[in-house]
Amino acid sequence: MIFLATSLLYISFACYAFGILSAFCFSLWPTRAILFGYTFATIGSVTGLAAAILFLREPQSQRLELFTAFRFTNAGFEILIDPLAAFFLLIICLGGSLVSIYAIGYSQDYIKQGKNVSLLVAGYNFFFITMLAVVLANNAFMFLVAWELMSLVSYFLVSFEHEKKEVRKAGVIYIVTTHFGTAFITASFLLLFLAAGQNLSFDAFRAGTGAGFSDAARNAVFLLALIGFGTKAGLMPMHFWLPRAHPVAPSHVSALMSGVMIKTAIYGLVRISFDLLGGRTVGAGTSSMVTVGADAGRVLPPSWWGILLLIVGLVSALLGVLYALVEVDLKKLLAFSSIENMGIICLGLGVALIFYSLPLPNAPALTVLALFAAFFHLLNHTVFKSLLFMGAGAVLHATHTRNLEQLGGLIKSMKWTALFFLAGCLAISALPPFNGFISEWLTFQALLGLVSYGPELWHKVIGLLTLGGLSLTGALAATTFIKAFGTGFLAQPRSQAAVHAHEVSKTMRFGLGLAAALTALLGLGAAGVLALLKPALEQWTGAGSSQAVNPLWSLPSSNLANSGNTNVSGGAGNLNLLILLLPLVLIIVGWGIARLLGGKNRRAIDETWACGNTLKPSMEYNSISFIKPLRRVFQFVLLPFREVKITYRIEPYFVERIEYQSGIKSLLNSDTFRLARHFLSYLNTEIKVIQNGSVRLYLSYILVTLLILLVFTR
């Protein structure tokens, strides 16, 4: 089995490599480059997916030594496939399977534009290799190389349409931000490296973070990792690159970046906080070690790590969704929504980390529950965010605009796309029976567990606030996506582009349909997912800590009734998944009743009532007006502004022209960047005096340096 899985993994890598090769081989025949390149990517993803599932079913870790980069500090390329890595393997390959087929259709447009698509295809395939390398790496050096390569490749993919200034700018902001993030990650790893006796292998990290590792260093590692990975994950306030970079990338790349790539940051966070810094059983030593009970000898992380994650997650979720709410650029909206969803994932992760750090008898079960919430939401987000970005790509493909105010009425011209997009919207709004609901439900349960069992009052307070915040987030997300679907697809087209929209090609529809089907399937089959993820969830809490999986159609909850009892199986708090289908049954009942009471329906088609006028698209509610009340409610965050400029022919009676402008100011707004830029240009102008061309000045530097050294250092 393991052999099979490993071979499949190799095949998967080989396919991506073939994808790159074929892209270059067919660089003169772009159609073929696209076809072969993406087909290889699809095959690679599917085999990788199969490998991941096999690895998850056979949860012993697999190690592969590739080669050593340099002996010193044991920097090398080694692979560890443990359940956590296997889970992220699953995520990446799932994303790949969904998007790659779609990409065949989507990339055709670039041929017409005369772009060098073979580069796109090659980069796309290489992107997978780097992402896989990130999650499989068992060495800090390999991790950093893969991580930075992943950033670089994605940067080049983002900059694919580099003729546009906006794209170039977004790309630079992205790569620079992520580079700084990498610096933090590097620092974090290097602290671990010291603890590990100057060894860069993760195995040594694990061994070295026991008792001898000081609390201060432990906290520093976590904080550095949080900043570093948080930057990649788009957590507030390190998120600013994300809404710029994701929208400008080709849509299938956006789908991958939002759906898959930013998840690797979560991987890094989990890897560091649970695994590398994890509460390993050790001899004796640090202050945070538990001395009694079942956890005796475990070094526990402080629980404020989890609290910090909760706060960061909550802020990201709320602000992310608020900015998504007011966005009119469809892809930007999706990007902001990614920030929101990363926040929600962090909520689950935070709760898991808190319970992981508490020596409670039922902590393992609650850790698993919260971790499941996080992981399942991660999986779900991969599916529905890919779906939505692909949908946005389809719209862009058909109308050449991402602006919601230019769209409308697409449900008639793009029936299938609309249907699939709607599924994505419902899923991301956490509505039953789609998968988003299940993970939101799990997150609620995890948070309720925190409020219920958190020993400190501030655990409860933060838990409650988060519960409220998450509800608010859910409602806002629903509003956001109603807006997106309602103004994008419903009513009359608002521009010529939307009027002339057409349904997209079969390959694109196939990708969309697959993802849409998955949103529903994952919702109904959540218990199966739990069974699959079990090894990944139990990796740090010990086998059997997720006993609640047995009834196939039900999910565990924190089972608040039995405090002190860790058995979360069955019983009162469970959600029966079959019931998700109940509304469907009752829809039919409703139809039956209507038929019964009213006989056969007689339907006449007529105009929409518009107070006697003919309804024009300009009379419709558009996306701005739709969220206007909410924008006003949340004006303390969104800082909306409006400017009305009226020019008169004869004041004040005859108006010649009214200019109206409105928008919001971001909290981390362009003023902040402008400030930074001003500072830089200040540096530029003022400090350049240092190098003003005068040779005498230059000589005086030498003199002064010499004098300083002579006077002070002797």
């Binding site: 002996r71 190389v145 390569l149 630079v172 040779v695």
Partner: protein, 601 residues
């Protein structure tokens, strides 16, 4: 073995005069090949020999040769290898570079001869610097490298290059004088403390007796050495000459200066650092080196952020990298020295490559002004790729080799508990990455013809040689608006063999538009080519921005195309080196770097 050592220096010197002599024979332009060949053979042969010597040293251990005049250990071998590889790149790249410069009429046969004359003096001087035993002779040779490289810096004979040369000579000579003071003091120390054994400046002697040298004197000596050689190495704040000199010289020479010559002065610092450490104890010199290292990294940032001159940008980056090396040495420890050794090599290759890429960009766009260069990936995809690869390599981004050594420097800083230095370095390197990449993206991406320039005056950095004055012995005719000139106003190229000053050959397919009046043209001749003093009217009424058509970047003569291709072909090997060494450092390289580390200790 010893025979090789002398021979390393030999091939170049006679050929220097051969090249110079040939250029005096009134050859026709076509026959410039002979000169190029004569000038190229020496360095190439020397490269082979130096590499063999270096290999010998690495495998067989340190060598004392030539009755104690020469001494080679792992550090010398590393430097030999660096100089060998960089000079190989420089001389091979010189061929297509100079061919095109000849074709553009920027340089004459006579200049070509001088070029190879000085180049063939510079390369053996550098080799000799790192293999002589006496630190005094090393000083003499470092000084000599300044003197023979100065004419190469001022090669184009423009105002800017003259200025750069002047600053280079003055500052480098002043600095080097201080280094001499440091050497004198070391000598005094050895006289003072070792009266019996007979004082000497020989490295073999000093190394043996370093521990018994007077600490007070050695401290003083090290200060002067650090300031002195630091000036030549380009450590801030003594680096001020470096951006000027490295940006004004022809690109192959820039590559040589940044890649090899800086290391020669660095070599002196490294040697004296070892001495000082055994005499004074490690804290003193380490502290100074860390401070100067960080200062060098920090100092360049404001100049890199809004740099408009491509080659200046790279020159500042050299300052930064010298800072990193010095930082690594200051950090010390097994890791620090290893990293320093690796970084010396990595930086040399990466920077030399990058300067060649810059040369290629300049050859195609006829300007070094970053604001005027757009869309390289469209006009020359391979060159664009190289530009990106080079930028990423130079900024220490995986998968390129500089990443490995920079990572090791930071790792070493952590290992020696210099957390602040490590954090600071990480942050500063991040900023440098940002600014370099910003410029790289600006140049590489976009479309070449989207370039929009204010037409009220070209930049202050227009200066491709093709727009410049010929040297005094050169031609006297001018051709306005040669086809490849991006800015019409500034598109003045010299044609050798033109008839008279007044006879202006106006030609070129897009020579329509506004012509310069004679007065403006004369101004141009006297050096104000770039119209950086636009007329008052022009300044007041800020004319609309002009869209420049750079379509003709692609339309080139056949020989020029060949030269372009050859140049790119030459650059393939270094970029592969950068890539491979970034992912995998072969174990023999590690062994060698370790040996160098042992010497640095």
């Amino acid at each position: 073995m010893p025979a090789f050592l002398y021979l390393t220096l030999l091939p170049c010197l006679p050929l220097a005069f051969v090249a110079l002599g040939l250029s005096r024979l009134h050859l026709r332009a076509r026959q410039s090949t002979v000169i190029i060949l004569a000038g190229t053979i020496g360095p190439v042969v020397a490269t082979v020999m130096a590499l063999v010597s270096a290999f010998n040293v690495f495998t067989a251990g340190p060598v004392v040769a030539g009755e104690g005049i020469f001494y080679l250990d792992a550090l010398s071998a590393l430097m030999l290898a660096v100089i060998a590889l960089v000079s190989l790149l420089a001389v091979t790249y010189s061929i297509p570079y100079l061919n095109r410069e000849m074709a553009h009429g920027v340089i004459t046969i006579s200049k070509l001869g001088w070029y190879y004359f000085w180049l063939n003096l510079l390369i053996p001087a550098m080799y000799a610097t790192v293999i002589v035993n006496s630190l005094g002779i090393t000083w003499v040779l470092v000084e000599a490298t300044t003197l023979v490289s100065a004419p190469l810096v001022g090669f184009y004979g423009r105002k800017e290059s003259l200025e750069a040369t002047w600053k280079y000579i003055i500052i480098a000579m002043v600095g080097i004088s201080f280094a001499l003071l440091g050497i004198l003091l070391t000598y005094v120390a050895s006289l003072n403390n070792l009266p019996e054994s007979g004082a000497s400046l020989d490295w073999t002697f000093l190394l043996k007796n370093a521990a018994s040298l007077d600490p007070a004197l050695m401290k003083l000596a090290f200060i002067f050495i650090l300031v002195g050689y630091g000036t030549k190495t380009g450590l801030a704040p003594m680096h001020t000459w470096l951006p000027d000199a490295h940006s004004q010289s022809p690109s192959p020479i820039s590559a040589l200066l940044s890649g090899a010559l800086l290391n020669c002065a660095l070599y002196g610092i490294l040697r004296f650092n070892s001495l000082t450490k055994s005499a004074v104890g490690p804290e003193f010199s380490s502290g100074l080196l860390i401070i100067f290292g960080l200062l060098s990294i920090a100092f360049v940032i404001p100049f890199m952020i809004k740099q408009i001159d491509l080659k200046r940008l790279l020159a500042y980056s050299s300052v930064e990298h010298m800072g990193i090396i010095v930082l690594a040495v200051g950090i010390g420890g097994e890791l620090g020295y290893f990293a320093a050794a690796l970084h010396i090599f990595n930086h040399a290759i990466a920077k030399a490559f990058m300067f060649c890429v810059a040369g290629e960009v300049t050859e195609r766009y006829h300007t070094r002004d970053i604001r005027q260069i757009r869309g390289i990936v469209h006009s020359a995809p391979l060159l664009g790729t190289f530009l990106f690869a080079g930028t990423l390599a130079v900024t220490g981004t995986p998968p390129f080799n500089v990443f490995v050594s920079e990572f090791l420097v930071i790792t070493g800083a952590f290992a020696s508990h210099n957390y602040w230095a490590a954090g600071l370095a990480l942050a500063l390197l991040g900023v440098i990455f940002a600014s370099m990449l910003y410029h790289c993206v600006a140049m590489a991406f976009g479309r070449a013809n989207e370039l929009i320039l204010p037409s009220d005056g070209a930049s202050t950095v227009p200066v491709h040689p093709a727009m410049s004055l010929p040297d005094s012995s050169g031609a006297s005719g001018f051709n306005l608006a040669a086809p490849h000139m991006p800015v019409q106003v500034a598109s003045v190229s010299a044609l050798s063999g033109g008839s008279s000053n007044e006879e202006l050959a106006l030609s070129g397919p897009d020579a329509s538009g506004t012509w310069l009046d004679r007065a403006a043209f004369r101004r141009a001749r006297t050096g104000l080519l770039t119209l950086d003093k636009p007329s008052l009217a022009a300044r007041q009424t800020r004319p609309p921005k002009r869209r420049l058509a750079v379509e003709h970047i692609k339309t080139k003569s056949k020989s020029e195309q060949t030269n372009n291709r050859v140049a790119l072909l030459i650059l393939v090997l270094p970029v592969l080196t950068l890539l491979v060494l970034g992912l995998w450092v072969p174990s023999f390289v590690q062994d060698w770097a370790n040996q160098v580390g042992a010497v640095l200790r």
